[in-house]
Symmetry: C2
Subunit: 220 residues, 2 copies
């Protein structure tokens, strides 16, 4: 089993009690989501772009068009930061200062590397697709050579990484608890509505992995 | 009425039909969320950190502890990128290549400036708090001088900015529609569960802005 590395750059300095470095915790947070925010630098300007991802063991895979500025830039081997965030609730304190959010986030630093080997590339594309919809790969029309060629896949080791997690009720100033002000948490979560077939799929049986879609994921 | 600026840096190049530059559309996307991802550079490394925000007209406000690395770094007046993303659905195509997501995202580039003026700072803190929970400010215990001093507030003009929006069903290859493969959209949305009072608020009436909390926002 691997471990992540706590460096000076990924150590949670503000509110260090919220810092988590256990890879299994990081993996669970990563596996529950499927959109990350990728940070990279172009001409001294940081850019933050949302994109899909998948995970295979200790590796995070990103994919995009070979024509995209971001993937062209990343494929050169530049430093990136990949962040995944789940907002679980609004922490309603008795003061603005103590108000907060319940969340789980993972920050991964490193250099993304283009995946060139055709077998690894296909495996990565499958991992990303099935990270989003389990077992979907077998139902897809098989990929064409030009589609694979037109897709850039990048791998990023989940090594220099940390999670930050806040849970539970507000932490108000002691004196503030005596005030007649409501305090607690407004829980938030992502829900899945019934799938909407397109016109060609109307009347077709909905596959079980679509009909019973959920973002709750087992972690391995 | 203001307008955002479409520069070479914010022009949507990949799939330009998804690019949106109307400020009112940007504001609606910004107002529906309350967590952004802030990108900045430290020692040649990009960082992407989730944080709360508020909007007043054409200005985005961020706040954080004056002790945080991010806010110390941002307060020096460095280039930032602030991105807000809503994932509205998974677009299930008949091929992996045509699979996609429905989303609305805003990317703002610029330089964040510390808000020094005490009145503007208080107004910004109020805007951030009420961006998250409308009308909450009046219910809070009033802020203390040391709390305001310990909070760093940054303003970022919503000027060099663009939105990217995808909606609707998959766009499959024409021939793929004849295949016996389901295609459509799995809609996703953020839901609010009933508020959970902390032990001191148990039995207290829940204020209407908490009891009927919703992320649907009017835009102005």
């Amino acid at each position: 089993m691997s471990s992540t590395i706590k460096t000076a750059r990924t150590k949670v300095k503000r509110l260090p009690e919220r810092g988590v470095y256990d890879p299994q915790v990081l993996y669970r947070i990563l596996d529950e989501g499927f959109v990350c925010h990728v940070g990279f630098i172009m001409d001294s300007q940081p850019f933050v772009i949302p994109t899909g991802y998948g995970r295979v063991g200790e590796t995070l895979y990103l994919h995009g068009s070979t024509a995209s500025r971001m993937f062209k830039s990343l494929a050169r081997g530049v430093p990136v930061c990949v962040t995944v965030t789940h907002v679980d609730g609004i922490v309603v304190a008795r003061s603005a200062f103590n108000s907060s959010m319940n969340y789980r986030s993972v920050v991964i630093l490193g250099t993304a590397t283009p995946v060139i080997d055709p077998d690894e590339k296909l495996a990565a594309l499958r991992a990303i697709a099935e990270h989003i919809i389990p077992h979907r790969w077998a139902d897809f029309r098989p990929p064409k050579a030009k589609e694979i060629k037109g897709t850039s896949v990048l791998s990023l080791p989940i090594r220099e990484a940390s999670a930050k997690v806040r849970t539970g009720p507000p932490h108000d100033d002691k004196a503030d608890y005596a005030l007649p002000i409501w305090g607690g948490v407004i829980p938030l979560r992502t829900t899945v509505d019934p799938p909407i077939p397109d016109s060609e799929a109307a009347g077709m049986a909905v596959p079980p992995n679509i009909a019973h879609y959920s973002r709750a994921r087992k972690s391995s």
